[in-house]
Symmetry: C2
Subunit: 387 residues, 2 copies
């Protein structure tokens, strides 16, 4: 981290200068973690030039132990805070995650300033992973794959989805999974992952992903439910492993018995789509074109209606960035016309949802490289038949 953080700060400062900003003020924990290696309750000031300053509310002791930032101080009194930022007129903030109350608080502390939304700059910086970060993500991928490799030990017909989830989650925790999944998008939330079987795999829901699940209640309408897993049903496990803060995302399919031909065929199509997109995961490829390719392959297979969600509520993407948050940039989606950059990490997740039958598909996390996607989740994609 000793070379990571200064390099990240330098990349940010370049952007601040290009946008004629005097500096950026971060208050969101994972943003601060990215630039300083601590998520203690703090405010981070990064001037367009010069040294960042970390002002810590709690815990100062721990922030001092963790932070890669030479200037660390307890959060000062209001007047002193205003003085520290004296002369800084144009200040960037991440409006995507900053509550209005916080914005009003800082507006009062720093009157007359011009606050500018740098959410897009911040997300773009994070989208491209360093060699060090990719190494963390490879490690995370291996840990998550090890847990997936044990599923045959405990999955059996007659257990409820939530029992399957509990067994998987316990193993993921023992493997070092941190559990808490950070999502940036407003209104989204996810607990650990999704374990669904049969009809509950074809549930409608708020989540901006293809497979949602019935969940435990209307308050938690996402993921595993109390439904009992039956023979010959598609069982989909879509879990996020979080290690050292980095999310890695993958999905595997299981069945106790046999899947019918329609579902087997859809699974084969999902794997073909994944392969087609993954081999094009090279710098310069256009995100929206990769989505269109995927959608076309689904259509050619006669499965357009079921692609990426319940018919009528289909998600309009086939892949999403992963990193410190589960929903990082870029997104392989309509309207995302920017080119891929080497070092981006993207989960590709072609899936089909058949009303009443359930969902089926595949997901792996990849790094964008000159040779196409490097798979960060090294486990065979095969549908796993149990008993």
């Amino acid at each position: 981290m000793k070379t990571e953080c200064p390099a990240r700060i330098a990349r940010l400062q370049e952007k601040l200068q290009q946008n004629n900003l005097d500096g950026a003020l971060f208050i969101y924990p994972i943003d601060i973690y990215y630039f300083c290696a601590t998520r203690q309750n703090s405010t981070l000031w990064v001037p367009a030039q010069g040294e960042p300053l970390l002002l810590v509310r709690k815990s100062y002791v721990r922030a001092e132990q963790e932070a890669c930032c030479s200037a660390i101080r307890p959060f000062p009194r209001s007047a002193e805070f205003a003085q520290l930022l004296d002369g800084q007129r144009k200040i960037g903030m991440t409006f995507d995650v900053m509550p209005v109350q916080q914005y009003n608080y800082y507006s009062k502390l720093l009157p007359g300033r011009d606050f500018v939304d740098i959410s897009a700059i911040n997300r773009d910086l994070r989208a491209v992973k360093s060699a060090w970060e990719l190494e963390r993500m490879r490690h995370a991928g291996v840990q998550l794959c090890r847990v997936y490799a044990t599923v045959a030990d405990f999955l059996q017909p007659g257990m409820r989805e939530v029992d399957l989830a509990a067994e998987f989650e316990a193993r993921l925790r023992k493997a070092g999974g941190e559990g808490y999944i950070r999502m940036r998008a407003f209104n989204q939330e996810l607990f650990h992952g999704v374990a669904v079987s049969g009809p509950s795999g074809s549930s409608h829901g708020f989540f901006d992903g293809p497979v949602i699940g019935q969940g435990m209640s209307a308050a938690a309408p996402h993921g595993a439910s109390r439904a009992v897993i039956e023979k010959n049903q598609p069982i989909l496990l879509d879990y996020v492993g979080v290690f050292d803060g980095y999310c890695i995302d993958m999905t595997r399919m299981f069945v106790c018995g046999e899947l019918d031909e329609k579902l087997q065929n859809a699974f084969a199509v999902a794997c073909q789509i994944q392969a087609a997109v993954a081999e094009r995961l090279k710098p310069g490829a256009i995100c929206s074109e990769l989505f269109e390719l995927a959608a076309r392959l689904a259509e050619d297979a006669g499965l357009a209606e079921y692609f990426m969600g319940m018919p009528g509520e289909n998600a309009k993407f086939v892949g999403h960035g992963v990193g410190l948050e589960l929903d990082e940039m870029p997104v392989l989606a309509q309207g995302f016309n920017q080119p891929l950059v080497a070092g981006q990490a993207i989960a590709i997740e072609p899936k089909f949802v058949f009303p009443g039958l359930g969902s089926i598909g595949i997901e792996n996390s990849f790094a964008v490289t000159e040779h196409g996607g490097e798979k960060l989740t090294p486990l065979p994609d095969d549908l796993i038949q149990i008993c």
Copy 2:
């Protein structure tokens, strides 16, 4: 829920009228859930008089199944949205959780309006639980207690804190725990709960609670760590059970062997403080006075320095509201000078943190009643000795 939601809406409308507001616009999922019984991705308009209107982004199908709200529509085009709120000038919003980007979006859709922060009104409404809600919370308490009652089956010296956490969490999930813990405060986050033993129970950290733990990394610096549980160490389990959306919060102490006298004494003091506060948990009691009482009892016992956190970073409360979020109103803390109201649900958690030794204390969730606190977590408070 068919009578719950209209009653909640009526209480809100009374407040809106008192504050001369034309209505309130909610976009935060759990706020919408409270008033409409669905957390689908929606925007809720509650006029100061008349019927609320739920505008759903995703999933409309599911929102229709779940919502207790007679007027439900897909989220309309911008012009139509503006028309729906035509003539509404003074509009309440929850600024505590609304990102600036969302605020700017609605400001553009509804130009010339006066947006007013109703965060405090919203939190005050939620603080007082109905008989129906208390019944849900009693149920949640019983489920969580059942899991605590199994700890002796799997806790043993030599296991890591994270192994203990994994076993506990798996049982909590199988008991129906929804897992995802909602917290309202900015910068706070919690995965499931905290399992700590010995020295890692005395970690500094960002979390606004007494016991924080070392966690798995600087990115997840909270809760269980890889530390190995040893004999004669205080083992503290502080877990949140979430059932039907309602959080219930409790802590129990365990030891493999014997605790030294100093810790045993501190545990007895924590239980005395809990009893003193719980018996005063009646309508009219002043929150800050209950905190002062607790602090005085800690001081009388010569333990002021260790009360509610690491010395120097002590939390300044002894209890907090629980409900759909873990950090509801009221707080038994300095500066909270309002009186308790019957039906409020409060977790009382007197704890002591001894640097290098660990943490010890007790926690139960209570309802405020005329006869004092009604314990919602019906399990004996005893320190549990294993092997």
